[in-house]
C-alpha cells in the first residue's frame, strides 16, 4: 500500500528492508506451531530420535528468527554473514573438540 512510498520519502537509506506485517505474522505462527510440535513430540517415546527431533526443530526455529526477524535475509552488509558463520563455527569447535576429549577418556 502506501508503505512503499512512505519508506522512499522518509527513509534516508534507500536499501532499508521494511518487513511486512503479513510475513512477520506468518513466521510467528510457524514458530508457535513448531513450539507446540516439539512439546507434543516430547510425550511420544522415539528413543534416541527424541533428541534429534527436538534439536532439529529448535535449529529450524532459530534459522527462521535469524533470517526473518533479525533481517539477515535482507541485509546488504556482507560481513554480517561472516560474523554469524564464524560464531557458529567456533561454537561447534568448542562443543565437538570438548566432547571428543571427554568421550574418549577412560577415567570414571
Amino acid at each position: 500500500m502506501t508503505e512503499h512510498s512512505n519508506a522512499s520519502q522518509n527513509t534516508a537509506t534507500p536499501h532499508e528492508h521494511i518487513s511486512s506485517i503479513g510475513s512477520s505474522v506468518a513466521i510467528w505462527i510457524v514458530l508457535l506451531i513448531c513450539t507446540a510440535l516439539t512439546a507434543g513430540v516430547a510425550f511420544i517415546d522415539l528413543g534416541p530420535l527424541n533428541t534429534i527431533v527436538a534439536l532439529t526443530i529448535a535449529t529450524f526455529k532459530a534459522i527462521l528468527v535469524v533470517l526473518f526477524f533479525m533481517h539477515v535475509k535482507y541485509t546488504h552488509e556482507k560481513l554480517t554473514g561472516l560474523v554469524i558463520v564464524s560464531a557458529i563455527f567456533f561454537l561447534f569447535l568448542l562443543l565437538t573438540l570438548s566432547m571428543a576429549d571427554y568421550t574418549t577418556r577412560l577415567w570414571h
Binding site: 522518509n10 510467528w28 516430547a42
Partner: protein
C-alpha cells in the same frame, strides 16, 4: 570514491543530524552499528556456548542422573515461556517496522508490549524457581534429591549428580533471565525516548540493535527449552 559518495548526497538534501562526521553516508553508519551489534552477539554465543558445553559434558557423564533430574521440570512452564518469547519477538519486529515508518505512537506501543511479555516470561520463571526452592532442588546446603534412574528402577540417583544438573539449570536459565532483565531495562529506556520522539525513519539504530539483542536472547531460550525440558522425557 568516498568523496564521490559524499558529493552525491550532500547537495540536494538537508544533512541528517544523526549522521556522525566520521561516516560518509547514513547507510555506512547504520551498517557499522549493525556489524558491531553482531560482533557482540557472536561473543554472546561463546559466553552461552561455555555453559552449553558444560551441560553436554556432564549430561554425557551422569546420563541417568540427568535424565531423572530433567524429568522433574514442568514441561508446560517451558512451553508457555517459549510461546511468550516468540510473541515478544514479533512485537519487536513490529516496533522496528513502526520506527522505519515514522510511527511514533505505534513504536512506543510495541515496545511497551515487548516489556510486558518480557515481564510475563520472568514471572513464569519466578513461579518455576519458587517450586524449585520448595522442592529443595536449589543447589546448596538444603539440596535434597530422591529418585531412581529412568528405566532402571533399582538404581538410585546420586544426589550430588542431580545437584550438578540443577546447578547448570540455574546457571543457564539464570543467565538467560539476567539477559531478559537487561533487555526489559533497555526497552524501557527506549520506550521513553521513543515517546519523546527521538527515533524516526532517519534514525532508529538503537531500536534495531536492541531488537537484535532480544531476538538473540529468544534463540538462546529456543535451545534451552528442548535441552533442559524435553530431550530426557523418555529414556
Amino acid at each position: 570514491m568516498a568523496t564521490n559518495e559524499a558529493a552525491a548526497i550532500v547537495p540536494h538534501e538537508e544533512p541528517n543530524p544523526a549522521l556522525l562526521h566520521h561516516f560518509v553516508t547514513e547507510e555506512q553508519q547504520k551498517n557499522a552499528a549493525s556489524l558491531g551489534m553482531w560482533l557482540f552477539l557472536a561473543q554472546e554465543v561463546m559466553f552461552f556456548g561455555g555453559m552449553f558445553c558444560a551441560y553436554l559434558v556432564y549430561r554425557y557423564k551422569y546420563f541417568g542422573d540427568f535424565g531423572s533430574a530433567s524429568q522433574t521440570l514442568n514441561i508446560w512452564y517451558g512451553a508457555i515461556n517459549t510461546a511468550v518469547l516468540l510473541c515478544s519477538s514479533l512485537t519487536v519486529v513490529l516496533a522496528v517496522r513502526a520506527a522505519q515508518l515514522n510511527k511514533r505512537k505505534a513504536l512506543t506501543m510495541w515496545l511497551v508490549f515487548t516489556i510486558l511479555l518480557g515481564l510475563v516470561f520472568l514471572g513464569v520463571k519466578g513461579i518455576e524457581y519458587k517450586e524449585k526452592f520448595e522442592n529443595h532442588h536449589v543447589p546448596g546446603p538444603s539440596f535434597a534429591y530422591h529418585g531412581t534412574v529412568p528405566s532402571h528402577p533399582d538404581q538410585q540417583v546420586n544426589p550430588r549428580h542431580a545437584e550438578i544438573y540443577f546447578s547448570l539449570y540455574f546457571a543457564m536459565t539464570g543467565m538467560h533471565a539476567l539477559h531478559m532483565i537487561i533487555g526489559v531495562g533497555l526497552f524501557g529506556t527506549l520506550a521513553v525516548w521513543a515517546w519523546r520522539g527521538k527515533y524516526s525513519a532517519n534514525y532508529y539504530t538503537p531500536i534495531e540493535n536492541a531488537g537484535l539483542y532480544w531476538h538473540f536472547v529468544d534463540i538462546v531460550w529456543i535451545y534451552l527449552f528442548p535441552l533442559l525440558y524435553l530431550i530426557d522425557r523418555h529414556r
